[in-house]
């Protein structure tokens, strides 16, 4: 990293750790030489099960409830999500659909990696495409994914081994055909991204640099330093921009309702100009829903790594037109959210830090868990360690455990951290912490919605003409996703959904657009006596100070 010139007022540098945390750091340093030769043993499946039951937030019964209306009535999900799913629509069934503001073959809703991939493949398959997105094109969790993307492309590895890792990590509840698609498409996606110009980390002879992630049995994590998602997102975005006007991008225009026709097929969506409040019908022959997840609902009060727009919009929209949901009783808490300093609590510390050798240790500087368990298990172990009083508590009361990042340079040579993790080094340096010399404090943070709208292998859903891709979908990862499989899923299923949507748009016979499903929805809510007081999709969280 070049340190030339950026002017920062001197008073901005707030020096590192308070004295009480420094005492614990000395213990971490004292045990480091011994720990360099030791690795904590991995848990058996039975041990994993036991720790999850006791300490993982998904097992806290009172934080969940069943939804009471719709095709997936009875499905358990977090309270905060259930309230949004059972919300009232922004518009009524009488909203005027007679004059569409735009007409297109494929409407892509969502401007992250899945939406961009879908737009590109739909366009390549002959469709005119409109992509609408809530914030700026590329303001999405894709941009924030640091660690990598999995693909079994080394001789020691195979798609079958990848398959086994995915399904074991997901507690064997994954949909097999979706796992197959993910593992078998993966090497093709790497090739596709490289041909678009993504700069993967490589050896001078072209061999991909590949590391482990939690729950992998082979090194198959491809990376682009620790800006892997950003590198993929900005490249996909650039390519979409190159294909204007075949693809039209409309920013700050989230979808607030899907529209069906009188034959029960998708007919487009109503979008809202976020700045003026104006609502418009966009008529489309197929829709790809790629709106991402829901971390900004802050389940159980957890902080989140997610971007500002992650508010479960797609789940709400798809469910109202009759697409079944699944796996939403399971959320992913990333084990390593920043726990200090306070300004960045909850922000992601990439799993690659552990992949490169940094061990999690408690306040006594002792290991207590294998560093690369699947994420849910690793998170549960961190929560247990803190619950047992062996975590570090910051001056603001936030508990956490150490991630012994200085081990990386000791193991791999000086300068490795700076080269492999520039974003992380920069993140902590902004607050006076040098992670190459001092450990960093972490605690689980809400990261990923494992479930969502039920997905089929070709990207379709139960609603004709409605396709989905990415975090909005459910089934690929079962009840727990492994690191590096979300950048993979957005590209694999984004491509599949885009291709299938273009194909559907070509052969479908459109009927008359209608919002009759809203009459049925409102009636169902009324008959069940439900009023959660929420108008959904909620579009943005509200962080303004109250009172």
């Amino acid at each position: 990293m070049l340190q030339l010139g950026t002017l920062q007022p001197p008073s901005l540098t707030r020096g590192g750790y308070p004295p009480e945390m420094c005492e614990s750091i000395r213990l971490v340093e004292a045990t480091r030489p011994r720990r360099l030769t030791e690795t904590f043993p991995a848990m058996s499946l039975e041990e994993r099960e036991a720790i999850l039951r006791e300490f993982h937030p998904d097992y806290k019964e009172e934080a969940f409830r069943a939804i009471r209306v719709g095709v997936s009535e009875g499905q358990r999900m977090p309270l905060e999500l259930a309230d949004v799913v059972e919300g009232r629509p922004h518009i009524g069934p009488d909203f005027d659909l007679s004059c569409p503001a735009a007409v297109t073959d494929v409407l892509v809703i969502g401007g992250g990696g899945a939406g961009a991939s879908a737009a590109l493949l739909a366009q390549e398959n002959g469709a005119r495409v409109i992509l609408v997105t809530k914030l700026r094109f590329g303001d999405a969790n894709t941009m924030m994914a640091q660690g990598g993307i999995q693909a079994a492309d080394r001789p020691e590895d195979s798609p079958a081994i990848h398959y086994l890792d995915i399904i074991g990590g997901g507690h064997f509840t994954n949909v097999p055909e979706l796992v197959e698609a993910l593992a078998m498409d993966a090497p093709f996606v790497i090739k596709w991204l490289e041909e678009l110009g993504v700069m993967f980390d490589k050896e001078p002879d072209g061999t991909m640099k590949e590391e482990h992630g939690g729950g992998t049995s082979r090194r198959r994590m491809h990376s682009a330093r620790d800006y892997t998602g950003a590198e993929i997102m900005r490249t996909l975005r650039d390519e979409v921009r190159n294909r204007e006007p075949d693809i039209t991008v409309i920013e700050f225009s989230p979808a607030i309702e899907l529209v069906l026709d009188d034959r029960g097929q998708i007919a487009g969506a109503v979008v809202m100009n976020l700045e003026t409040g104006a609502r418009h019908f966009i008529s489309a022959r197929a829709v790809v829903l790629a709106t991402g997840g829901s971390g900004r609902l802050h389940y159980q009060g957890f902080p989140t790594t997610n971007h500002y727009g992650a508010t479960a919009d797609g789940v709400v929209l798809a469910y109202r037109v009759g697409a079944p949901l699944g796996y939403l009783e399971s959320m992913q808490y990333h084990p390593t959210g920043a726990a200090f300093p306070e300004q960045i609590v909850g922000q992601l510390v990439t799993e690659k830090v552990r992949g490169l050798g940094a061990q999690p240790v408690n306040k006594y500087g002792e290991q207590f868990v294998y560093p690369l368990e699947p994420r849910d298990v690793e998170s549960a172990a961190f929560i247990r360690e803190c619950a047992l009083g062996r975590g570090v508590v910051t001056p603001s009361g936030q508990p956490g455990v150490w991630l012994d990042s200085p081990m990386i340079d000791i193991i791999h040579g000086p300068g490795t951290t700076q080269r492999a993790l520039p974003a992380m080094v920069r993140q902590f340096a902004r607050f006076g912490i040098d992670m190459t010399k001092e450990p960093i404090l972490v605690y689980p943070t809400l990261h990923y919605q494992n479930g969502g709208v039920r997905l089929r292998p070709d990207g379709s859903t139960a609603v004709p003409g409605l396709f989905i891709a990415g975090e909005v979908s459910g089934g690929v990862h079962g009840h727990n996703r492994l690191m590096g499989n979300s950048l993979l899923e957005i590209t694999v299923f984004g491509r599949r959904a885009g291709r299938a949507a273009a194909e559907f748009a070509r052969r479908m016979n459109p009927g008359r657009p209608t919002l009759a499903h809203l009459e049925a929805w409102n009636r169902e809510l009324a008959e069940a006596g439900i009023d959660t007081g929420v108008v959904s999709p909620i579009l943005l969280p509200d962080y303004t100070r109250k009172g």
């Binding site: 700026r136 079994a152 950003a230 300004q343 974003a423």
Partner: protein
């Protein structure tokens, strides 16, 4: 928080009293703004919240990301969430990774004055001037490498007296490097051939046919590469 521990900041010229521990973004929300523009990932990766500010009594202009920069007393700030910048349209499959390509797609590259105002503005501490200089030499490899951490927030372009859109030129360099200049991965090509030839079809079909118990046993028995 006690009133006397709050500090004054000026958002678009208006004074608000906010806690000193907040980032600029959280201070704006504390002040009552519900943000639409100028907010994105909130984690320092998307470049949506580029902000320019001055400190009372200090003539210099500073830059930062609102989600990553802590407020200071007497901070005058304005967000620059959107800046119109020149962007060329091109077909990456029809370009050659040469200096001529850079100069023909972005002729204004050669107008760079080398003043370094861009470098001073970069919240990622990228030496923008250095990668522009590499670009003017036609050194795509170096331009791609030096610009790699770019978030495309646009602060460089907003400050440039030569009216460059540095970040758009830089992504062209990176894409040319990734597609044409990075060494090829033989093992990737071989794997694609194997998959196309159906080498793994039987293995996957077998795994899909297993009962849960059999799958669990297979998962437990898998060997872990060190």
């Amino acid at each position: 928080m006690a009133e006397d521990s709050l500090i004054p900041v000026y958002i678009m010229g208006k004074q608000y009293m906010v806690p000193p521990s907040l980032t600029i973004m959280k201070a704006m929300e504390y002040a009552g703004y519900k943000l639409i523009r100028g907010v994105g990932c909130r984690g320092g990766f998307c470049g949506a919240c580029g902000t320019a500010y001055r400190i009372q009594g200090d003539p210099r202009l500073y830059f930062g990301l609102a989600c990553q920069t802590v407020v200071q007393p007497g901070m005058y700030l304005a967000q620059i969430p959107f800046f119109p910048a020149q962007r060329a349209r091109y077909d990456i499959t029809r370009l050659e990774p040469t200096a001529t390509t850079l100069f023909s797609v972005y002729p204004e590259l050669l107008r760079c004055l080398g003043c370094g105002t861009c470098t001073k503005a970069c919240p990622q501490e990228i030496d923008v001037r250095a990668y522009m200089a590499a670009g003017m030499r036609g050194d795509i490899v170096r331009m791609a490498d030096l610009s790699f951490d770019c978030l495309m927030c646009g602060l460089c372009a907003a400050r440039c007296p030569a009216e460059e859109a540095q970040y758009n030129i830089a992504i062209l360099a990176r894409r040319l490097y990734g597609r044409y200049l990075a060494p090829r991965s033989r093992h990737l090509e071989e794997r694609l051939e194997e998959i196309k030839n159906g080498k793994f079809d039987a293995q996957i079909a077998e795994l899909k046919s297993l009962s849960r118990e059999e799958l669990v046993a297979r998962y437990k028995a898998r060997d872990i590469e060190p």
